[in-house]
Subunit: 323 residues, 2 copies
């Protein structure tokens, strides 16, 4: 993409406002967040000011800034990266506003369709992993996991789900509510009580935010779940489309996602430092499989996805760390 | 003990009121609770009604009811069982009120002295496990663990402590506050974030409520901690006097300790069952050692303690389970 015009502060502020609700959304899974991001891109397409309605380079700048802003608010979420990246790659060679609009809209539609198809395939595969009458553990909130469980229930499979709070944002409660309203019996407890319930489960499911060679990044607590599952011989599956694969450098962007200390303890005494990290990393050897739209992948199946070169738009390349 | 007179409802209610604060105390460790229970026994000694000040069998009944009430409010806490058991065994052959008072007071004094001596010896041993400049993980609240850490700091050893909330009662915050006010730098986070911090620790400490052949019973989450420690090769020590050993049947009394569902989620939707168990069980093979006043015991050292026959007063024998 050739040199683009700089945005004025007003436009930047407008885009930041559009992206802000996604930063504050700690309860939604990746697929839900991606659908919300699609509407942000749709709004961004309308931001050309009066008098500049035909300024194609300015619209490219707006979309580039939007893509970066969306990645910035949830740096661990691979789906947001790929959505933005697809949009920017699509408009790279567009030269008119009309062409940019068309290519953006086509990309957004294709992306949404891809997400829906992907979840439908994953739900088919997950159905076979849910044994009738058994107890399934599910951690945090993943819209893919919810879709799979509700789909299985709708198809007449009877089972119960155990989930835990997922402190501090309590996505586990959202999961419990969503499943219960879909007719699934849910048992809910504290994160530290996983060991009391996991032993009775026939399988455990989690979503994920991104995947690369070091493993799968997901809500903090996933690593503990994974270690507990191995100890108790409960198979643990990450349910995720292959759009979650990112480069190894991008994977570690999740470490940027530190949350406010006050969420841990709003009246901590002097001398107590607070740590509020949103994610942790589960190495592949702790997973029984990655349930994707390409099938249930074992660790040995992952190499092609891990080494696939990703066509990263120049505007989204990570800067080299300064030494 | 021969057949004792039944207590009237007023006396029973009085004793229940004395024991109640201990039921509600979810923040204190076993040694602290035992010191509070000693004062409950001291109060119980004053309960003989006017006109019955010389009624020795009635005083025995009062003390027996007090012992049972204290065990009932915290069924997992071995120290409460042994305190009550020691008092009842001591007064078994006493025939006058004066003799009962003397024997009870002597037992209480001896028990308190034993706890203090025990903690002092454990602190000596724990000191050697705290490497200078290192990070120590500590879980939940144990007065023995606090004493050991503060003692090491007072002796000039510099180290930092990481601890987590210990939902739902947040004993971890009490631990953090106590340590910070004693000049120890503390890092505090969520229970589900253990995996993010444990890898940087040189050792992990926990207290315990009771010990028998199946393992060590402690605050729920201890099992997760133990599994995570083994995965990360962090040695985990339970710090506890040998007065925590109980019979295998009594160990499982901890399963009685279910707490109110509303502590998990006070507005759970229909279809969501809530589970609030206070304790879990850590098998010995997940511990690097049991730091006691008799030394640091490995699994292979435990047999004499496990098979030691305990002189259980007839009033405190567990009823056989009905089949």
């Amino acid at each position: 993409m050739s040199e683009l015009p700089k945005l004025d502060e007003q436009l930047k502020a407008h885009i930041t406002t559009l992206a802000q609700p996604i930063k504050d959304d700690l309860l939604s899974g990746a697929a839900e967040i991606a659908l919300r991001a699609i509407t942000v891109f749709q709004s961004a397409l309308t931001l050309l000011p009066d008098g500049k309605k035909n300024d194609a380079p300015l619209l490219k700048s707006i979309l580039t800034y939007t893509a970066s802003a969306l990645i910035e608010v949830q740096p661990a979420m691979a789906t947001l990266f790929h959505l933005g990246n697809d949009v920017l790659n699509a408009i790279d060679d567009a030269s008119t506003v009309k062409e940019i609009e068309e290519k953006t809209n086509n990309t957004l539609t294709r992306f949404e369709q891809m997400l829906c198809d992907s979840v439908a395939t994953i739900a088919e595969l997950a159905y076979e992993l849910i044994e009738p009458g058994e107890l399934i553990f599910a951690y945090s909130f993943s819209s893919t996991v919810v879709s799979c469980l509700l789909n299985a229930r709708a198809r007449g499979r009877f089972f119960r789900v155990v989930c835990t709070e997922a402190r501090p944002s309590m996505e586990g409660r959202k999961l419990a509510s969503r499943l219960a309203s879909g007719g699934i019996e849910v048992i809910h407890t504290f994160d530290n009580a996983m060991g009391l319930v996991l032993g009775n489960c026939s399988a455990a499911f989690m979503g994920c935010d991104c995947i690369a060679r070091p493993g799968v990044v997901n809500k903090v607590g996933s690593w503990m779940l994974a270690v507990a599952c191995r100890e108790l011989k409960v198979p643990l599956y990450a349910l995720s489309g292959t759009e979650k694969f990112v480069s190894d450098e991008r994977l570690f962007e999740f470490e940027k996602h530190e949350r406010p200390a006050a969420e841990v303890w709003d009246s901590a005494p002097k001398g107590v430092a607070l740590l509020n990290h949103q994610f942790d990393l589960v190495p592949f050897d702790l997973l029984s499989g990655l349930v994707t739209e390409q099938g249930i992948l074992k660790e040995s199946d992952l190499e092609p996805y891990l080494s696939r070169s990703q066509n990263v738009n120049s505007a989204l390349k990570l800067e080299a760390a300064s030494c």
